[in-house]
């Protein structure tokens, strides 16, 4: 059992947990994830380690309610426990001093981007961060990202904060104004990563993305998370989650994400029937 020590709501449907997991905290590196189960009948879902505190033995998990498991998680409070957490899994991000890095994030993907921003800043990079969302309140972790960024650009679809538009426009703006970008990371909804990659291609930039396919064990045992990169099959749980965005077969990736859509709906409806209206979201 893994005890939740604090819970915070970051945005509608987005929550921030600090959880006791000393061994995972002691070994975690930027870019890694955990696989967790909420309870005894629960499924195993992957979540990025958004932060960790080795001294206190804590890891931070930030998630958006997208299905039954995350909905069930959102009902837990500080003092409650998650049944299982296994990690840190996956290959850590390649952290070195590249020069200038452009860090692009959206949605709950910002939580996955944040530890990489922090580590790259620590390695001496100039960090230009672009965070995007539909509206200002949905762009999470701005202050934290700003702390480790030389510049933070916010984009919103409705213009409620920062640039009106989407992250790809900000990516172009940064390059067009003359910044020499050496490497990009783009983490967010798959459609955003796909278009972020497309923009990077046009701008001639190398770009890393963090893939979040369905997983079961998370240790390379089942192949549920297989993705095609550069024409070859990889297991995102052990070979990734980060891959060269230019080489990812995005359409296949997105199609595989939808594989259990019908079952996910059944699960969610059953949960809603049990808990009633989820007013806390």
């Amino acid at each position: 059992m893994f005890k939740i020590v604090s819970k915070q709501k970051l945005a509608p449907k987005e929550f921030d947990f600090w959880v006791e997991a000393p061994r995972i905290a002691a070994h975690a590196k930027a870019g890694q994830f955990v696989v967790l189960r909420v309870d005894d009948n629960g499924e195993r879902i992957p979540l990025t380690i958004a932060d960790y505190d080795k001294d206190k033995g804590l890891i931070r998990l930030i998630f958006q309610v997208v299905g039954k498991t995350t909905a069930a998680m959102s009902t837990l409070s500080a003092g409650d426990c998650l049944r299982d957490i296994s990690g840190p899994l996956g290959t850590p991000s390649e952290i070195e001093n590249y020069g200038t890095v452009m860090m692009v994030g959206g949605g709950v993907g910002i939580a996955a981007l944040y530890p990489i921003i922090k580590a790259l800043k620590g390695a001496g990079n100039k960090v230009v961060t672009i965070l995007g969302g539909r509206t200002s309140s949905l762009v999470i972790m701005k202050d934290e990202c700003r702390k480790y960024s030389d510049e933070l650009i916010v984009t919103t679809d409705d213009g409620s904060e920062g640039m009106k538009g989407v992250v790809t426009e900000a990516m172009k703006m940064v390059v067009e104004r003359g910044d020499k970008v050496d490497r990009c990371w783009c983490i967010g909804p798959s459609i955003m990563m796909k278009f972020g990659t497309k923009a990077a291609k046009e701008l001639g930039l190398p770009i890393w993305v963090s893939l979040n396919p369905l997983m079961v064990d998370g240790t390379g045992m089942c192949g549920c998370c297989r993705v095609t990169v550069d024409g070859k099959i990889f297991f995102a749980c052990v070979d990734g989650p980060e891959f060269d965005g230019h080489k990812v077969n995005w359409d296949e990736f997105m199609s595989r994400l939808r594989q259990y859509k019908d079952e996910e709906k059944i699960s969610m409806e059953k949960f809603e029937a049990e808990v009633g209206e989820q007013t806390w979201l």
């Binding site: 070994h27 499924e43 195993r44 990690g87 064990d217 045992m221 297989r226 099959i233 052990v238 079952e263």
Partner: protein, 470 residues
């Protein structure tokens, strides 16, 4: 010699195939004590005891059978406990026909079937677990040392049980959320009920073995930390990296590795969705590729999930089928269709990223390959199409690299498995032993247990000598 007993094994009750094909309950219902006595009476108690040589853990088979015949079940259980920590498992999943029963003297007689040793082993184990008052005796003296075991499958459990009995403090680290390894995530409920596995593990915990789940060694803790904290370590992580044939369409929705398919069903209880959160797709037309026990398990599970048609596609013929013969028979009884000498060439897309069928080609057997079996070669122009909304590849596994990649000191063989001494499990790193599928490649439960037994003796010797030298 005047022989008065039945030529055939005493019949055993099984769930009717028409009924069991739609449930996940155990197929074989086991002998009653009376039936067991009758079957035990078929054992000649011969002097040569060839059956023992067929057993990788060398159970004194005639001795426990004699006890059954005499109605002395405690005696039978006591004998069994000396040799195996997992009797209820082995009685159910060992390939007895190629081990103990394959060598049985009765079976060598014309027209006689061997003694049903596996089913008798199961009878003893099930009887033992039904007795509340028989608790395993934990070692009471001062602990001789600390041993870490990585992986709680059959090999890890065996080493742990034996070392605990010898007086060691044993800790098993399991990567998944439940202990048992392949016994839990791989072998289906209808062949090996999970409550049986749990009972075997609980018995081991009563011996003092500590099992910690959710620990991925190499990630959650490192081998270096383990080596600092323990006197010795046994690596038994299994061969948990599924192979794919790599034919076009492998990433289509509806194509699975058997590992994923079975893990969803067994470990995650996908057949009880939505009571359990993890779904297992209820496909209608299923093609399973492979001829081993795992292929049989996947096919029979698909049937139980409600498939109308389940076809096994195997590139060799029945004579080369690696599956236990009982599993093959059960599969046939349940209506599984076998396409011999056939191999997939493509998974076909329905246009929306989902599988609509499997293109296959007929094979013929050519010259023997390195395994000694005749190599299947495709017959040109013999392609045909099997409609399917689910395809499951059960073509074997390779070495999982998660631990190995973080422990480069450990010498591997050409196939990427750990190089370990055949008799002791000793590896290139002093104090680190290994056994089971991560050494041999995917094999059987009992071979993994055999490796564990040998390693337990070697680990005891290693620690005793190391402490004496201090």
């Amino acid at each position: 010699m005047a022989v008065t007993f039945s030529k055939q094994k005493t019949p055993i009750k099984e769930q009717d195939p028409q009924v069991r094909r739609s449930n996940f309950e155990e197929v074989c219902l086991g002998y009653t004590l009376e039936e067991g006595k009758i079957e035990a009476g078929r054992c000649l108690q011969c002097k040569t005891k060839p059956c023992i040589n067929g057993c990788p853990v060398k159970i004194d088979i005639p001795a426990f059978i004699k006890c059954i015949r005499e109605g002395d079940m405690p005696g039978a259980a006591e004998i069994m406990d000396k040799y195996t920590n997992l009797p209820a498992v082995c009685g159910r999943v060992c390939p007895q026909e190629s081990q103990c029963e394959g060598l049985c003297t009765v079976g060598k007689m014309k027209d006689y079937e061997p003694v049903s040793i596996g089913k008798l082993e199961r009878l003893v184990a099930d009887w033992k677990y039904a007795q509340k008052d028989i608790a395993p005796k934990a070692y009471a003296g001062e602990k001789k040392g600390r041993v870490a075991v990585v992986g709680s499958g059959p090999s890890g459990l065996t080493v742990a049980g034996d070392l605990a009995k010898m007086g060691y403090e044993v800790k098993i680290f399991e990567a998944l959320h439940a202990a048992g390894g392949v016994l839990i995530y791989g072998i289906p409920e209808f062949r090996l009920p999970k409550k049986i596995v749990k009972m075997e593990i609980e018995a081991m915990q009563k011996l003092g073995v500590d099992v910690e789940t959710d620990v991925v060694v190499g990630k959650t803790i490192t081998m270096q930390e383990i080596m600092r904290e323990y006197d010795a370590c046994y690596i038994a992580v299994g061969a948990g990296a599924p192979h794919f044939q790599g034919v076009p369409g492998t990433t289509l929705n509806g194509v699975y590795s058997a590992s994923e398919y079975l893990t969803r069903i067994n470990l995650m209880h996908g057949y009880e969705f939505p009571k359990f959160d993890t779904p297992a797709k209820k496909a209608k037309k299923v093609v399973v590729i492979g001829g081993g026990n795992v292929a049989m398990d996947a096919a029979r599970s698909a049937k139980r999930l409600g498939a109308d048609k389940v076809t096994i596609v195997y590139r060799r013929s029945l004579a080369e089928l690696p599956a236990r013969i009982e599993e093959y028979h059960h599969a046939v009884e349940e209506g599984i269709i076998f396409n011999w000498l056939t191999n997939p060439t493509e998974y076909v897309d329905d246009g929306e990223g989902k599988l609509k069928g499997v293109k296959v080609i007929k094979m013929e057997l050519g010259e023997p390959d390195t395994s000694g079996r005749r190599r299947p070669v495709p017959v040109e122009g013999s392609d045909f199409f099997i409609e399917a909304d689910c395809a499951i590849e059960a073509i074997g596994q390779g070495a999982n690299r998660v631990l190995l990649s973080t422990f480069p000191e450990l010498k591997l063989n050409k196939k990427g498995y750990i190089e370990a001494d055949e008799k002791t499990g000793a590896t290139s790193v002093p104090g680190v032993f290994a056994g089971g599928d991560i050494v041999t490649g995917a094999a059987t439960v009992i071979l993994a247990m055999g490796a564990g037994k040998d390693a337990a003796v070697a680990i005891d010797k290693y620690i005793t000598e190391k402490k004496a030298a201090k």
